[in-house]
């Protein structure tokens, strides 16, 4: 649906490599078609994973380099590593509804931030901020015609818990633990 429309405006040539969103029925959650190809017969050990857009005819878009062209930025060029105070962990956990107040969790977050720090090295002076690389493309507008829906059975199958034709969720608005309780919880974690 939308993928094909966006691709169309981007002039990526299209044909179908998969007949449909079969991932829904066969249980593999792969949103894009994935081709495993051997680059050369000589390097039989290394497999390059080439991810192509669903419905894309060619496994490779000439505008995309075949191999990664980035190289790591030297540590001394980066700003000083961000320190993540406990309060910030607290806030992030609330916003993301993800538990990560363990040593590993924190290390992982710090590594992610460190990785993003490399962007500071890029010189963006004189370049207006962009929302997306699609900014200069025309937004495709669809006709107001019913084309989908009516797949309750298919969707409900994906849910662990259903009642009649409803999805079942835990009751909303579970109050968050009080500030002090959270502090206590933080203290007792490995973190």
């Amino acid at each position: 649906m939308s993928i094909s429309s966006l691709c169309a405006t981007r002039r990526v040539s299209l044909t179908i490599i998969r007949p449909s969103f079969s991932f829904l029925t066969n249980g593999h959650s792969i949103p894009y078609g994935v081709n495993f190809i051997r680059r050369t017969p000589s390097c039989s050990q290394s497999r390059i994973t080439n991810v192509t857009r669903l419905f894309s005819s060619r496994p490779h878009n000439p505008k995309v380099p075949e191999v990664p062209t980035w190289k790591p930025v030297a540590e001394d060029q980066l700003p000083t590593p961000a320190h993540i105070p406990a309060d910030l962990v607290d806030k992030l956990e609330r916003l993301a509804l993800v538990d990560f107040r363990t040593k590993q969790g924190l290390a992982c977050l710090e590594k992610a931030i460190r990785f993003a720090d490399q962007l500071h090295v890029v010189d963006t002076s004189g370049v207006d901020p962009m929302d997306s690389v699609l900014e200069d493309r025309a937004l495709y507008l669809r006709d107001d015609t019913v084309m989908e829906g009516d797949c309750a059975e298919e969707l409900l199958q994906l849910s662990k818990n259903t009642v009649e034709e409803y999805f079942v969720a835990p009751p909303g608005n579970i109050p968050l633990p009080k500030r002090e309780e959270r502090a206590a919880m933080l203290k007792h974690s490995e973190f």
């Binding site: 649906m1 939308s2 993928i3 429309s5 966006l6 969103f21 991932f23 829904l24 959650s29 949103p31 894009y32 669903l54 806030k91 609330r94 916003l95 509804l97 993800v98 538990d99 929302d131 997306s132 699609l134 900014e135 200069d136 493309r137 025309a138 937004l139 495709y140 507008l141 669809r142 006709d143 107001d144 015609t145 019913v146 084309m147 989908e148 829906g149 009516d150 797949c151 309750a152 969707l155 409900l156 994906l158 849910s159 662990k160 818990n161 009642v163 009649e164 034709e165 409803y166 999805f167 079942v168 969720a169 835990p170 009751p171 909303g172 608005n173 579970i174 109050p175 968050l176 633990p177």
Partner: protein
């Protein structure tokens, strides 16, 4: 992250945000004139009167209008009220991985048309943003909305109230429209407290909404109700929203605060859960009074969200909004900017004219708006402005009026009187709509025709009207059965008059002495005797 499709997601807590509301801005203020009463909203203890204590209400509104379209905003699944649960859901609506939004042109055009009708500036380039919050009926974990640059800004809604001592004066008021933004609706949650679970129906998830943000230019419930009613009529005339509040097509949240005129605005509360225009007025007036009471007791108003309980007639606090509320707005990366073009000539090469949203085309297609319709009624039929107001504001009343008018020789003013007084009065009493009227336009026309041709007097006509309503018989049947026709037999009339004159010698004496006023008493007595069937002109001559 997706709570439902893999049960293992962290569910330790779910943030509690109801609908998405992004803008709370108070800029200008109005002081309410006193003592307005309104026909549309039979209100209310008049809070506008509290000016004596100097504290006045300030009301701003956020209105979510469901766009009247066949399909949803970003997916081509159908939009329909009361369909079996989850039967109108596409993979995108359920936010399955790999799905992308595709914008519905109809929704864009509806928002642009609404913007034009409300004198907004249409942004030639508008942007989409993600607003993040966790709630079970929002499977993506964010809502696509227009936070930074909405499709329309800076408009004006002109509405009228009936005011003055006899509620017969049409008073025009303005409220500024800050912006109109396109956004997705959420799904619906059904809370099962017994089993402590929530049932989720995603049929509504992804339906297109226009969020209209009105500046706090209103000062009481009645003004807010009148503004919403006018907006509802405009949206219905445009066909961009069906405007049925009970089906949630028009949802109103009110931001209410009180202050002394000239001073900074007070702390506001947000009142939600209002599902009719009548309740809107009551909820706001209750809230203003509640805040005034708190301040006069020396307390402070809490900034909180409150729900209106129609049974209690009160606003009650809703779940406490988390102090820490961060919607983490970010640009929607999957949607390039939305461009609206002035006319076909300004279309860049390579853009299909039927693909683009063109202002000129939409402007030309604007239908007659309610305010124009009222003016037309006044001009065409020579009726009073306040009557045109009632005719247009009551659902179906204008059509009823015109249907009656077509079938009778009675003049428009007379028909207006009957329709706005007798008919509407009866409907109000029974809490019915015009469509539910027990008397059809044709039946009313027949009654008026009988009066017009001199078969019955006006007082009998009113009596017959009541009779028609309760018995369902036609006017002619009732008149014949109860012998209510005017007595045109002069001999019969003469004998009745003679009887009255004979039995009241004192009054006759007074008249002979020049006190003509006493004649009216005799007239009244004859009327009593004839049960209103005497032709007053004929009667006067006889006496």
């Amino acid at each position: 992250m997706c709570l439902y499709f893999n049960g293992s997601a962290s569910q330790k807590q779910v943030f509690s945000f109801a609908m998405a509301h992004s803008c709370f801005v108070f800029l200008s203020l109005h002081v309410c004139s006193r003592g307005f009463l309104c026909l549309v909203v039979p209100c209310l203890d008049s809070l506008c009167l509290s000016a004596s204590q100097q504290l006045v209400g300030v009301v701003g509104l956020e209105i979510h209008a469901q766009i009247n379209s066949n399909t949803k905003l970003f997916s081509s699944s159908p939009v329909c009220f009361l369909a079996p649960p989850n039967s109108l859901v596409s993979f995108f609506d359920a936010s399955l991985p790999g799905t992308l939004p595709v914008l519905n042109r109809r929704c864009v055009e509806a928002a642009v048309m609404t913007g034009l009708a409300l004198d907004c500036t249409i942004n030639r380039k508008s942007l989409f943003d993600r607003k993040h919050y966790f709630y079970a009926d929002l499977p993506a974990g964010y809502q696509i909305t227009q936070q930074r640059r909405p499709i329309a800004v800076d408009g004006m809604l002109t509405y009228s109230l009936l005011g003055g001592i006899k509620r017969s004066q049409v008073i025009k008021k303005n409220v500024h429209i800050k912006q109109i933004q396109l956004e997705q609706d959420s799904g619906k949650s059904l809370h099962d407290d017994v089993r402590s679970q929530t049932l989720i129906d995603l049929n509504r998830a992804g339906v297109g909404l226009m969020e209209l943000v009105m500046e706090p230019d209103m000062s009481c419930g009645e003004e807010a109700a009148a503004a919403v009613r006018e907006l509802q009529l405009i949206l219905q005339a445009l066909g961009t929203c069906q405007g049925n509040m009970s089906e949630g097509q028009l949802r109103v949240d009110a931001n209410v605060s009180v202050h002394r005129p000239g001073e900074p605005l007070g702390i506001r509360t947000e009142v939600k859960n209002i599902n009719s225009v009548r309740y809107l007025a009551r909820a706001i007036d209750y809230e203003i009074q509640r805040q005034i009471d708190i301040l006069q007791r020396g307390g402070t108003v809490q900034n909180e969200t409150r729900a209106y309980d129609a049974k209690l007639g009160e606003t009650i606090p809703m779940r406490d909004k988390e102090g820490l509320q961060d919607y983490r707005f970010m640009p929607e990366p999957n949607l390039p900017p939305l461009i609206v073009f002035e006319d076909n000539a300004s279309l860049p090469a390579g853009i299909d004219a039927c693909q683009a949203v063109v202002l000129q085309k939409i402007r030309e297609g604007l239908p007659e708006l309610p305010s124009v319709k009222r003016d037309r009624l006044v001009q065409m039929y020579g009726i009073l402005p306040e009557h045109s107001f009632t005719l247009v504001n009551e659902d179906g009343l204008m059509e009823y009026f015109e249907a009656v008018l077509k079938e009778t020789k009675a003049g428009p003013r007379k028909v207006t009187g009957w329709v706005t007084n007798e008919l509407l009065g009866q409907l109000r009493q029974q809490d019915m709509s015009v469509a539910q009227s027990l008397i059809s336009p044709l039946a009313l026309a027949e009654l008026l025709e009988l009066q017009e041709t001199g078969h019955i007097s006006s007082s009998v006509a009113k009596q017959v009207f009541q009779e028609m309503w309760s018995s369902g018989k036609t006017a002619l049947q009732i008149i014949q059965e109860q012998d209510l026709g005017l007595i045109s037999d002069t001999a019969q009339l003469h004998s009745i008059c003679q009887k009255v004159v004979d039995s009241h010698p004192d009054e006759v004496h007074a008249i002979r002495n020049g006190n003509k006023k006493v004649l009216n008493k005799l007239m009244g007595l004859v009327k009593k005797e004839t049960r209103g069937r005497a032709d007053p002109v004929l009667l006067l001559m006889r006496l």
